[in-house]
């Protein structure tokens, strides 16, 4: 993504506001761009967040590397997608 003023906080704010929680975060900044890798947990579909991040103007591309689902409770089926997204 472009390393513009506010770009990182805009991305992180979108993640939290849309109902996803951050587990790990790695940021690498070069001259004018930034690469952000995140691992995120939520009961919401990670693909939706990807599209919401992708429409941010500083974001150049979003890659969903993996989405894992797990059954956490025997009585209820809880989806816990975890994914790693990165931008270049």
């Amino acid at each position: 993504m472009a390393a513009n003023e506010g770009a990182l906080i805009r991305v992180l704010g979108t993640v939290e506001r849309r109902g996803y929680s951050l587990s790990t975060l790695h940021v690498e900044k070069t001259d004018n761009s930034m690469q952000v890798c995140m691992q995120i947990e939520s009961d919401r579909d990670a693909n939706i967040l990807c599209r919401q991040l992708d429409r941010l103007f500083d974001v150049q591309s979003v890659n969903l590397e993996a989405q894992l689902e797990a059954v956490l409770d025997s009585a209820e089926f809880n989806e816990t997608p975890r994914f790693q997204a990165s931008w270049l």
Binding site: E5, G13, R17, R51, R55, F57
Partner: protein, 559 residues
């Protein structure tokens, strides 16, 4: 953009470059309020051809810019100083964000050297507005002003429109630079090429009970004509949202009305029964869907939206088309054999047609609104505030184009109506702009009567006064065991006198037999006019889907 001007060596201040960029964007009117940090821009305005409308509260500036944008289809622009000026804009910015309205909001900021030191009238408006803007900028160099403003306009109107904030520090506004075009670049949002048209057409061909669910995106995508063409050629029935009002021809045979919490029963029953929901520029808002898991339970979903992030956000789409809605709607046309479904829809429409034969001689607000809209016809633009009157407008106002009905849909901003009407009047000077308000809402931006007077803006106000916060009262009656809490407004000011104090002519309507003369005056008086209408404080909006219930469970409607 402006390649020749890019060679210019004229020296201007940042503020002058800002206005130069606004002029280049065709901006002819600004809604704003001056103050310390924005003073360099107001100084430059003295030499500019752009008209500035001084509102009396910054929130009204943002809402007027919103109304201007909705009525004109252009980008609305508002202007405020730093600190409280900027925070007062926020509600209007959020309003534009939730309803996808193209807006550029410009705020003054303290000097760059003291930013971050809690300087006088310093707030981090850039940070505060992040969740409610499409994008935002802090301009830190005067060289960047021109390009940033041009880019802000391009972003605001591209793809799914929305508000863009520009925060302009005072020293940047006063710095003189030879050219502010260095970083100007061509800006375009890429839009996905539509895929899946064949799959979409197949879904429609296979459906026995297809139904269009029309939202505000149809108007934003200039696709009303395409929607109407599709409806005519296929006979598809349609329901619409608050923001979709006017997209479907009022007299179209299979126009089933608004869906949702206060929707027409025919619309809600059709949604519950359909086997294919064709979602056109709508977003499954909870006021439209009721309990989401029970919404359109038998239907597959075909979702058309310019914003790919809306597709499958709340309801999984069997097919999603994330391109320009106009082209995609046209591509769906095909002969359909749905006569049984049409027959059923027609029967439901007849069965649940609105009734206007309320007993008594008091003013029946739904009938007044229907009669006023029919008498006014296409020359009228209506704005509404938020509450019971807003739903009565949505249910009963007859309107043939979406841009003639301005309402705060997503945010539900009480106080929207009057400033939006001011904006709409500047967008369409020859229109008869009518603001329908309530006695709660009107007080949220009552100070804008001074703006009407100052500029001679001929907005007409129809105040439906039930001496209470009617919608909240209705909910307390129905869902809180009649435990009324802070909804009584029986000590309201005398609104007719209040309007006169601002220099606005006024009159009061208390009986049904006074309505025809009131309509005559509202449509024929040349200047601004305040029509105070007293209505039954016990009147409720029907039907009503209780919160958290299915749209099939409407109160106040026979199944």
């Amino acid at each position: 953009m402006d390649g020749s001007k890019a060679q210019s060596t004229t020296t201007k201040t940042g503020a002058q470059w800002l206005l130069h960029a606004l002029e280049a964007e065709g901006c002819d009117v600004l809604f704003g309020y001056p103050g310390g940090a924005i003073m360099p821009v107001y100084d430059a305005l003295v030499d500019s051809d752009i008209k500035h409308i001084l509102v009396r509260h910054e929130q009204a500036a943002a809402l007027a810019a919103d109304g201007y944008a909705r009525a004109s289809g252009k980008v609305g622009v508002c202007l405020a100083t730093s600190g409280p000026g900027a925070t007062n804009l926020l509600t209007g910015i959020a309003n534009a964000y939730l309803d996808s309205v193209p807006m550029v909001a410009i705020t003054g900021q303290v000097q760059t050297g003291v930013m971050g030191t809690d300087a006088f009238q310093e707030v981090d408006i850039f940070g505060m507005s992040l969740p409610v803007v499409k994008h935002s900028f802090i301009i830190r160099n005067a060289e960047d002003v021109y390009a940033t403003v041009r880019n802000a306009f391009a972003i605001a109107r591209s793809g799914r429109p929305g508000p863009v904030l520009i925060d302009l520090p005072k020293d940047v506004a006063t710095t003189k630079v030879a050219s502010s075009m260095a970083s100007l670049k061509s800006f375009q949002t890429t839009i996905d090429e539509p895929e899946g048209i064949a799959a979409a057409r197949a879904l429609i061909a296979q459906a026995e009970r297809p139904l269009l669910y029309v939202g505000g995106g149809v108007n934003m995508g200039n696709a009303e004509w395409a929607l109407r063409s599709l409806m005519r050629s296929t006979g598809l029935p349609a329901v619409w949202t608050l923001k979709g009002l006017g997209a479907v021809e009022p007299d179209a045979p299979f126009n089933l009305g608004m869906l949702g919490m206060h929707g027409n029963p025919a619309a809600n029953f059709a949604v519950q029964d359909c086997d294919l929901l064709i979602v056109a520029g709508a977003r499954f808002d909870d006021r439209a869907t009721g309990k989401l898991s029970t919404f359109a339970p038998k239907a597959k979903v075909l979702h058309l939206d310019i914003d790919a992030a809306e597709i499958s956000k709340l309801r999984n789409a069997d097919v999603g088309l994330s391109g320009k809605i106009c082209e995609n709607l046209l591509a769906l046309a095909q002969p359909l054999n749905i006569s049984e479904w049409q027959k059923k829809c027609r029967a439901m429409k007849t069965q649940h047609a609105e009734r206007y034969d309320a007993p008594g001689d008091g003013v029946f607000a739904p009938a007044l609104l229907k009669q006023l809209s029919e008498a006014g016809g296409n020359k009228v633009i209506v704005t509404s505030d938020v509450g019971q009157h807003q739903m009565w407008v949505a249910q009963h106002w007859r309107v043939n184009r979406t841009s003639a009905h301005l309402s705060s849909g997503g945010l539900g901003t009480m106080g929207y109506g009057l400033p939006a009407a001011i904006g709409a009047q500047y967008a369409k000077p020859n229109a008869t702009v009518i603001c329908v308000s309530g006695d709660g809402s009107i007080m949220m931006n009552i100070q804008e009567l001074a703006t009407l007077k100052r500029y001679g803006i001929p907005v007409k106000i129809v105040l439906l006064d039930n001496s209470s916060l009617g919608m909240v009262r209705q909910w307390q009656e129905l869902f809180f065991a009649e435990r009324y809490s802070e909804v009584d407004l029986s000590d309201n000011p005398d609104f007719a006198v209040l309007a006169n104090a601002f220099g606005i002519p006024s009159f009061t309507v208390e009986r049904r037999d006074q309505v025809p003369a009131a309509i005559e005056r509202l449509l024929n008086d040349e200047g601004s006019l305040f029509c105070h209408v007293k209505i039954d404080p016990r009147a409720n909006v029907w039907p009503l889907v209780p919160p958290g219930k299915s749209n099939a469970d409407m109160m106040g409607c026979a199944a």
